[in-house]
């Protein structure tokens, strides 16, 4: 199976609220951590519940440097950022993965880092779950990409197909999402980088589309009764 591995030193995940950026950022960081130094930056100031900091201990134990607000501010209802985030952008010895908050509102935070993004060394991935409200059509997806590009002051380099219905996902649903994304990708002149799939379904999905990598995901943002 052709796994996804970032081509640039800095990978930035943006997208609509609830599109799966956090799971993709965590999985990307864990893949990178097997081979090199990596810092995962929690830029999510939107979502109070399911974000990277929730699984900080697990990530650290597996060699990922987690950059998020200090412990006493972890649960605070304030858009706290730390200067260590800038360090990740400038330190050449490590990969950086950025998990940006949802919608254009969440992307504003990325916009404030725009002057510090190393030219040519970063890629912006726009994550789409076509099963989410307001993400089901090419027109809806274009509208949100435009808004996020304005707020984040960066262009989207790749689309990521993360179409899923949670526990009810089947391979056909994922492929349907891919079809919608192919339309968007062609209209914008960009590529679909990969499809994110729950690990147990990855082989079946790869068989249905062999042209782009399938990234088998382990999910970490679980509700308390599934732990």
């Amino acid at each position: 199976m052709a796994h996804f591995f970032p081509t640039k030193r800095i990978s930035i995940f943006v997208g609509a609220l609830g599109s799966g950026k956090t799971e993709l950022a965590i999985n990307t960081a864990l893949v990178l951590a097997r081979e090199c130094l990596v810092a995962l930056v929690d830029l999510d100031v939107i979502n109070p519940q399911y974000r990277v900091r929730m699984v900080k201990e697990m990530l650290v134990s597996r060699g990922v440097e987690v950059v998020c607000p200090p412990d006493q501010l972890l649960q605070a209802d304030v858009p706290a950022l730390t200067p260590a985030m800038l360090g990740v952008l400038s330190r050449e010895d490590r990969y950086g993965v950025f998990d940006v908050g949802g919608d254009d509102i969440g992307a504003v935070v990325l916009g404030s880092f725009r002057p510090y993004l190393p030219a040519g060394r970063y890629a912006v991935y726009y994550v789409v779950n076509a099963c989410r409200p307001h993400s089901a059509t090419a027109a809806d997806i274009h509208r949100m990409i435009d808004r996020i590009e304005r707020a984040a002051r960066v262009g989207v380099d790749y689309l990521v197909n993360n179409t899923n219905l949670g526990s009810e996902t089947d391979p056909e649903t994922i492929i349907e999402g891919r079809r919608i994304l192919d339309v968007v990708a062609e209209q914008r002149g960009i590529r679909v980088a990969f499809t994110g799939v729950r690990a147990d379904m990855a082989a079946a999905v790869q068989e249905l589309h062999a042209d782009i990598p399938v990234f088998p995901l382990r999910l970490y943002m679980r509700p308390p009764w599934e732990k």
Partner: protein, 370 residues
């Protein structure tokens, strides 16, 4: 056009979607975590379908705007989280006093005071016992899944109109933020809203004027009004008790939990059953009226009850009133914005059922027993 038949929806979005499907076109609210996505969702959606969303200058203003729109006969709602709901209590009391239907959503967080933004159930007493001044109750619904949020929001508006009073729907940050698949079906049809001849919509040739007020200066008249309310509340208690039960039929220990905690309790029941322990669960869907009839019925069969809450024990009192001392009612809770784990509730079950001795330390120092 949507090609995919189902939608993966966040709980907070589902509160909004359910309201729209119920025909609600007016929302007045003020942002507060962990409820803000609901306001955000409706602020975007309502103008698209000819509705109005106003971000009021405060929660006090928001609930009084709800009063106004309800008086004009509209299906209307507001939403907030614990501290904001406290601010609204005066307005809710006035809405009861004026016999106006509306829906209030409370995405509860850790308290008291500013507390935190973590999930909690510490507003149970405030919700079910009449949080404002005066002699009143209102219906309180507690969904435990994203599809059920939509269903109960539609029910909330129907019940509000039927009994002419506010209906509160409560959740927490876990329920609000989590995503589950929902089947929305075809484009929403506007439901039939019952006629509201009491609404202030212009005199339209009538000789008498409709007046909306909660003022009854003469005590005997106010007493008469209070007795009318009391009769309505008695009727609601008689016919609107709702609950879900899970593997209760042969259960020796019955867990009682609502909302998010009921999902945890359900996982505990499965774990106990796998270990050969006869455990079941009753999940109140209406917190008021409390499903006391079902609890009373279970008293004959169960050896005991275990109430689990994200508080130091509030619904516990209603379970104890229903059981009326006939069987032991145990309690395990995590207050202040902490969430009980399947593991620690299961350990509590084992302790009660005599699998582990009382003295054994069961993996957590946190939590409250009463």
């Amino acid at each position: 056009m949507r090609l995919l038949p189902k939608v993966l929806m966040k709980g907070n979005e589902a509160f909004g979607e359910g309201a729209i499907r119920a025909g609600c076109r007016y929302t007045f609210a003020y942002p507060i975590t962990p409820q803000s996505e609901l306001a955000h969702f409706l602020a975007r959606r309502l103008p698209e379908i000819g509705g109005v969303f106003v971000q009021a200058e405060s929660e006090v203003a928001a609930i009084n705007m709800v009063f106004g729109a309800a008086a004009a006969g509209a299906r209307v709602m507001t939403s907030s989280s614990s501290p904001g709901i406290s601010l609204m209590q005066e307005g809710i009391s006035y809405i009861v006093g004026a016999r106006l239907p509306c829906v209030v959503v409370n995405i509860m967080r850790g308290g008291p005071g500013l507390g935190n933004i973590a999930p909690a159930q510490g507003d149970y007493w405030q919700a079910v016992k009449g949080g404002g001044h005066g002699d009143y109750r209102h219906i309180v619904l507690a969904p435990a899944s994203v599809p059920e949020i939509i269903e109960l929001m539609e029910l909330a508006f129907d019940l509000a109109d039927k009994y002419r009073g506010p209906v509160m729907v409560v959740g927490d940050g876990i329920l609000g933020q989590m995503m589950e698949p929902v089947e929305l079906g075809s484009a929403e049809a506007t439901p039939a809203v019952p006629a509201k001849p009491w609404a202030i919509t212009g005199q339209e040739g009538r000789t008498t004027r409709n007046v909306i007020s909660s003022l009854h200066i003469v005590p005997e008249e106010n007493e008469k009004f209070n007795l009318e309310l009391a009769a309505t509340f008695a009727e609601i208690e008689r016919v609107e008790q709702r609950y879900e039960e899970y593997r209760v039929e042969d259960a020796a220990l019955v867990l009682v939990a609502f909302g998010t905690v009921a999902r945890i309790a359900k996982a505990v029941v499965d774990r106990a059953r796998a270990a050969g322990l006869p455990v079941g669960m009753i999940r109140p869907i209406t917190l008021w009226p409390f499903p006391r009839d079902r609890i009373r019925q279970a008293v004959a069969q169960a050896a005991g009850f275990l109430v689990v809450e994200m508080s130091f024990g509030q619904m516990l009192e209603d379970v104890r009133l229903s059981v009326d001392g006939k069987k032991p009612v145990h309690f395990f809770g995590r207050p202040g914005g902490t969430v009980p784990t399947v593991r620690e509730v299961f350990a509590e079950v084992e302790k009660i059922m005599g699998v582990t001795p009382d003295a054994q330390d069961f993996s957590t120092a946190a939590g409250v027993n009463r």
